[in-house]
Symmetry: D2
Subunit: 145 residues, 4 copies
C-alpha cells in the first residue's frame, strides 16, 4: 500500500498540522516539523514556561505530546493529509530529566501497513546525544477508497 517514500513535503505537513491542530500552538508556537525522510520524521519542540515542572525540567506530558505528534506527522507524510490515522496505543520510557532546552524527536516508522502503522520515537535535548524519552506507538489507518 503506502509507499516507503514521503508524499508530503515538510511545508505541506507544517501547513496541514497548523490548520488542523491550532491548539498545539496555543500560548506560543511550539512544535515544528524539522525534516521528513523515507519512513522518518523529525520534529522540534520549543518550550515555554507552561511546559516546565518543578526543578526546571520539561514535563512528561509535553514529551508525550511531542512523541505522538512526531509519529502522526511521519505517518501522514507517507499516506497523505486526507486519511486520518488514529492513535491506538502509546508506550513511553522516561530515561532522564530533560533540561530546559528545545527537544528533538526522531521518529522512525517500523511498519506502514494497510490498517496499522507502528513507529518508534527517540527524544533528545537539543545538542545532547542522550535519549531523554523513548516512545513506541501504533495507529489505526482508516479504509481508503
Amino acid at each position: 500500500m503506502a509507499s516507503h517514500h514521503p508524499i508530503m513535503s515538510k511545508d505541506e505537513l507544517t501547513g496541514f498540522l497548523d490548520r488542523e491542530f491550532p491548539q498545539i500552538h496555543e500560548g506560543g508556537q511550539t512544535f515544528f516539523v524539522d525534516e521528513i525522510g523515507p519512513l522518518r520524521a523529525r520534529m522540534r519542540m520549543d518550550y515555554h514556561d507552561r511546559h516546565l515542572r518543578p526543578g526546571g525540567t520539561i514535563s512528561g506530558p509535553s514529551m508525550m505530546t511531542l512523541a505522538d505528534l512526531a509519529l502522526y506527522a511521519a505517518i501522514l507524510a507517507h499516506i497523505g493529509p486526507v486519511a486520518l490515522a488514529v492513535t491506538t496505543s502509546l508506550n513511553f520510557n522516561f530515561l532522564r530529566k530533560p533540561e530546559p532546552r528545545a527537544l528533538i524527536a526522531d521518529c522512525r516508522l517500523l511498519k506502514l501497513g494497510k490498517r496499522l502503522a507502528v513507529g518508534e520515537v527517540s527524544i533528545f535535548s537539543e545538542g545532547s546525544p542522550d535519549v531523554v524519552c523513548h516512545a513506541t506507538g501504533t495507529y489505526s489507518i482508516p479504509n481508503r477508497r
Copy 2:
C-alpha cells in the same frame, strides 16, 4: 514499607498538587482530586477548548496528562508529599473517542514497593461505563531516610 492506606487526605493532596504544579491549571482550573482510598485515587478533568481536537473529541495528550496525574496522586497519597516519585514508564491504549464531557480517571495501585510503584488507570467519560483510555505506569520512588 508504605502502608496500603492513604496518609494524605483529598484536601491535603489537592493543596499539594496546586502548589507544586500550578501549570496544570493554566488557562483555567482543570484537574481535581475526587476521592482517595486504599491503593486508589479518582481524579476528574474538566475540559476547555484547548483540550479538544477536530471532531470535538478530547485530545490524547489531555488523557495522558490526566492518567499520569492520577497515578502520581495515588502514589503521593500513600507515601506522603515529601518523597518525589518520578514517572519511569507509561503505557496507553486508546479505546474510544471521548466526547466533549468531563473525564474521570480511576487509578488502582498494583504495587507499592520500596523502590517502585506500579498502577493502572481507567478513564471514562462522566456518566458512561465505557473505558475510553486505559493506562499503566511505573514510578521510581527515591530513597527515604
Copy 3:
C-alpha cells in the same frame, strides 16, 4: 459488532485451543480454560520444571505466554473459532516473583471492536490476592464476511 456475551463454551474453547495449539502442552498439559463470562476469561497454568527460574520462581516468558493465551481465549470466546485474531501489541509489568504454584490469569476485554480488540490481564499465584504480573494487549481482527 461482536456481542458482549461469549458464543463459545469453556469446553468448545478448550477443544479449539488443544487442536490448534498442541505445542502449548508440549512436555505436559499446562494451560487450562477455567471460566468464560461476558467480556471475560480465566485461565490456569500448571507449572513444570521447565517453567522455573533460579530461586524457584516461575519464569517471565511463562507468564507472558499465559497472558497472551488468556487474551486470545477471551477474544475467541466472543467472536468464534473461525476468525483468527492476531496479537499486535502486549505490555507487561512484572510486580512480584511468583512462587512455584499454579498461576491464574483473569482477563477482561476493554474493547471488542470490528477491527481491534483490547484487554487486560491480571495474573495471580493460586490462593493469593496479589497480582504478580499485569498485562494489556491489542489484537487485530481480520475482516469477516
Copy 4:
C-alpha cells in the same frame, strides 16, 4: 555507574547463561549470544517445531523470550554476572509474521543507571531487513556493595 563498555565477553556471557538458565535450551540448543558491544548485544534464536504456530510462523512467546533474554544479556554484559537484574516491564509490538527461519535480536541499551536499565530490541528474520517484532524493556538493578 556502570561503564558503557561491556565487561563480559561473548564467551563468558554464553557460559553464564547456559549455567544459570539451562531451561532455555530444553528440547535443543536454541539461544546464542552472537555479539556484544558498547551498550549493545545481539542474540540469535534457532527454532524447533515447538516454536511454531499454525501457518508455520514462529510464536509470539518465542519472540518475547528472545527479546527478554537479549535485554538481560546486554545488561549483564555491562554490569557483570553477579548482580541479578530483574525484568520490571516489557512492551512488544508484533509487526510481521516471522517465517520459519532463525531470528536475530538486536538490543540497544538506552539507559544504564544505578537502579534502572532500559533498552530496546529489534527482532529480524535472518537475512531480512524488516523488523518482525520490536520490544522495549526496563530492568531493576539491585543494590551492589
